[in-house]
Amino acid sequence: MKADTSQFPELDKTKFEQRGTDFKLGIPVTNAVTVGNSIAVGFGDGTVRIFTSGESSEPIKAHKGIVLCMSKDGDNILTGGDDGRFLNISLDGKISEIGNFGTRWVDHVAANNGSLVCSSGNIVYLWSPNHKEPKLFEHNSTIGGIAFDTKGRRLAVSRYGGVTLWKKDYSNKWNSSELNWKGSHNKVIFSPDGKYLVTSMQENQLHFWRLKDKIDSAMSGYGAKIKSFAFVDDSKYLATSGAKEAVCWPFDGDGPVGREPICLPYVGNKLVTFVEPFPNENAILTGLSDGSVFLSEIEKASNTIIIRSFTEFEVSAIAVTKDCSHLLIGDMGGNILWTSIWDEEKK
C-alpha cells in the first residue's frame, strides 16, 4: 500500500530531507567515497551502490559479507571485504579482483597515481602501476590503517606501538622508518600539506607527529574512541569525532601544541560519530550518534544548519560530490539521504 504523502511534507523534516531522496535500506552503511560527481557507498551485506544525480542506484554484489573499507583510484572504486578480496569496481559496476587473501580480511585499501595498496593481517600489499605481482611490506602487528601522502611518495602504516613510514626514493625503492608511541594505533592520515601525520588510538585519544622534526604529542580528553577525523580547509584544522562536540584542533602555524581546540556544540548532547570536511570551505559536516547531521562553520559556530534530523542510528558515512552539488549521509540503520545541496530554484 502506498500513499502519496509528498504534498504533506512533515514539519520536522529539514529542507534537505524534503528535497532529497530517503532510502530506507535496512543494511548498515560501512563506507562512502566520492568519485568525481558520484558517491559510492559500501554496505554490511557486501554490496556497493553508486549514487549519481539523475540516475538510479542498483546494488552491486561485491563482497560476500561486509564491505570493510573503500577508497578511490581515479574514476574507479577500491573495496576490501571480509571475504578476503581486494576489488576494483568501475562506476558502471564492473568488478575486477586485484587480490584474494581467503579467510583473512582485507582491512584497509588506498591508492595514489595508479599505485594500489591494501592490508590484510600484518602485511601491506602494494601494486605499482603495470605490475601484476604486489610488493609485500611486513609489520610487527595487524595494521590499523594506511594512508598515502598527497604526492604518493610516502605511505604511512599504523600499527601496535606507532606508525611505520615508508618512503619511496628516486630509484623507486621503498625504505621504512619508525614513529613510535606506546599503544595501539588505528586510522592514520597525512595533513594535505604533508607536514603532519595523525593517528587515532585504541584509547580515547589521537596522536600526531610533525614530520620535519619528529615532534609528537597526544590530543586527549575524549569520552569515546575517535572513529572519524579529517583535515579541513587545506590543513588549517583537524576536525574530530569522539566527543559531544566536534573538536577542531588548529594545525596552522606551529600546530596544536599549547593551543586550545575549537569545540562546536550541537543540540541534543549526542556523541559526534562522523566528521567530513565541506570541500573548499572552513566548514564541516558533523554526524551524531542519533543520526542527525549538521553543517557548521568552524570559526563561526552560530552559522550551523541542520541537514538531517535524527534517525536513531549512528551516522557512519558522509560524502560530498566533487562539484559540491550533492551530499550523501548514511547510518548504521541503513538509512541514506541523497540530496542536492543548493536550492534548484536559486541556481
Partner: protein
C-alpha cells in the same frame, strides 16, 4: 535492559592442544540448529573447519594505556568483533577459539575495556575443553592450563572413555580445587548438547546471584605456592560500604595480577539492595541487583580464584569490613 537483547553473545573456547576444541567447533557448526554462528579461529588450528563464517585471527595481546598495570586486551578481537557488528544479518552467537597456550584473561578483559565491543557484544561464557588423560600433567607443567581451568565457566572433560573411574575422580578433584564454580561436563568426542555450552550468560551480574560456594570446609593445602586455588567467605553481619570499597580497591590494585577471578554478593549496612560484582584481574563489573528476597537471610558472599591467595590476608581484610 533493552540493550542486552541487542548484544551478540560471544563464547570463548579454550583448552590445550589435542583436548578436542576443533572437534567441538565442528560439532557446533554441523549440528542442525538453524542458527548463524561466526567462528574466530587462530592460525594454529588443529584441522580444517568448514563454515562460511570462519575468520582467521592472530592472537594479538595489546597493553592498554589506562593506568591498569595488568590490563591487556586482544586487539584482533576488537577489530573483528567491530567488523562483524556491521553485518546486515544478525549473528546468533560468535565463538572465539584460542590457541592451546593462551591466557584467557586478555580475551575477557577486552569485553570490559573496549566500549564498542561492550555495547554490541557480551562475553557469554568461557568454555574450557580438557583432556581427561593429560590434564593433570598439563596442570603441573603449564600455568596456562591452570588459567584456562580457573577462568572456565564450563569445563568439558573430554576423552573420559580413556581413563578409569578413579582416574576421572582425581582429575575432577583437581579441577574443583582450582575452580569450584565451573560446571564439569563429562564427554567423549565432545558429545554435549549445545545449550549446555552456548547462551549461558555466565558473565552477567544476575548469574553471580547463583554463586553458592560449598567448599568452605576444604583444606587449602597444595604443593606449590603458585598453584591456582580458590577461597570464599561468608558473613551474616552486614558490611560497611566505605570500608569494603577501601579494602577491595586496594586489594585489586596491588594484587590484581594474582587474582584471576572474583565474584560476590554483598549486604551493606543501610542499603536495601543487594550489591553484586564480578571481576577479571583488576577490572570489575558491579551493580545493585534489586532488593533482597523477602523472608530470606541477608548475607555477603565473596569468592576469589587466584595465586598466592593465602598471602593476601583475605580473611582478615574481609572481617575488618564488617560493620561495628
Amino acid at each position: 535492559m533493552e540493550e542486552t537483547n541487542k548484544q551478540v553473545p560471544v563464547t570463548v573456547l579454550t583448552g590445550f592442544l589435542g583436548a578436542g576444541k576443533t572437534t567441538l567447533l565442528n560439532r557446533i557448526l554441523t549440528e542442525q540448529h538453524g542458527k548463524k554462528y561466526a567462528v574466530i579461529v587462530n592460525e594454529f588450528g588443529e584441522q580444517g573447519i568448514d563454515n562460511d563464517l570462519v575468520v582467521d585471527a592472530d592472537e594479538e595481546v595489546f597493553e592498554m594505556n589506562n593506568g591498569c598495570i595488568c590490563c591487556t586486551v586482544r586487539g584482533d578481537l576488537i577489530r573483528i568483533l567491530s567488523g562483524l557488528m556491521k553485518r546486515a544479518d544478525k549473528l546468533d552467537a560468535i565463538i572465539v577459539e584460542t590457541t592451546g597456550l593462551a591466557d584467557p584473561a586478555p580475551v575477557a578483559q577486552t569485553f570490559f575495556v573496549d566500549q564498542d565491543v561492550a555495547d554490541r557484544t557480551k562475553l557469554d561464557a568461557i568454555v574450557t575443553v580438557a583432556d581427561a588423560v593429560h590434564l593433570s600433567t598439563q596442570l603441573t607443567d603449564h600455568h596456562e592450563a591452570e588459567e584456562q581451568i580457573a577462568f572456565a565457566d564450563v569445563v568439558l572433560l573430554n576423552k573420559i572413555d580413556l581413563v578409569d573411574e578413579s582416574g576421572l575422580e582425581v582429575v575432577k578433584e583437581r579441577i574443583k580445587k582450582i575452580n569450584p564454580f565451573a560446571k564439569i561436563i563429562n564427554t567423549t568426542k565432545c558429545g554435549v548438547s549445545l545449550n549446555e555450552i552456548l547462551n549461558l550468560d555466565a558473565f552477567s551480574l544476575k548469574r553471580v546471584l547463583d554463586v553458592e560456594p560449598d567448599f568452605l570446609t576444604s583444606d587449602h593445602d597444595h604443593e606449590h605456592d603458585d598453584d591456582v586455588t580458590s577461597l570464599s567467605f561468608v558473613s551474616d553481619t552486614p558490611l560497611d560500604m566505605e570500608k569494603f570499597q577501601d579494602w577491595f580497591s586496594k586489594l585489586l590494585q596491588t594484587k590484581g595480577q594474582d587474582i584471576l577471578r572474583t565474584k560476590g554478593i554483598l549486604d551493606f549496612t543501610g542499603e536495601s539492595d543487594r550489591y553484586v560484582f564480578q571481576g577479571v584481574h583488576m577490572l570489575m563489573d558491579a551493580s545493585p541487583m534489586g532488593k533482597w528476597p523477602e523472608g530470606k537471610e541477608r548475607s555477603s558472599r565473596l569468592v576469589f580464584i587466584g595465586r598466592n591467595l593465602e598471602s593476601m590476608n583475605l580473611k582478615e581484610g574481609f572481617e575488618n569490613c564488617k560493620s561495628a
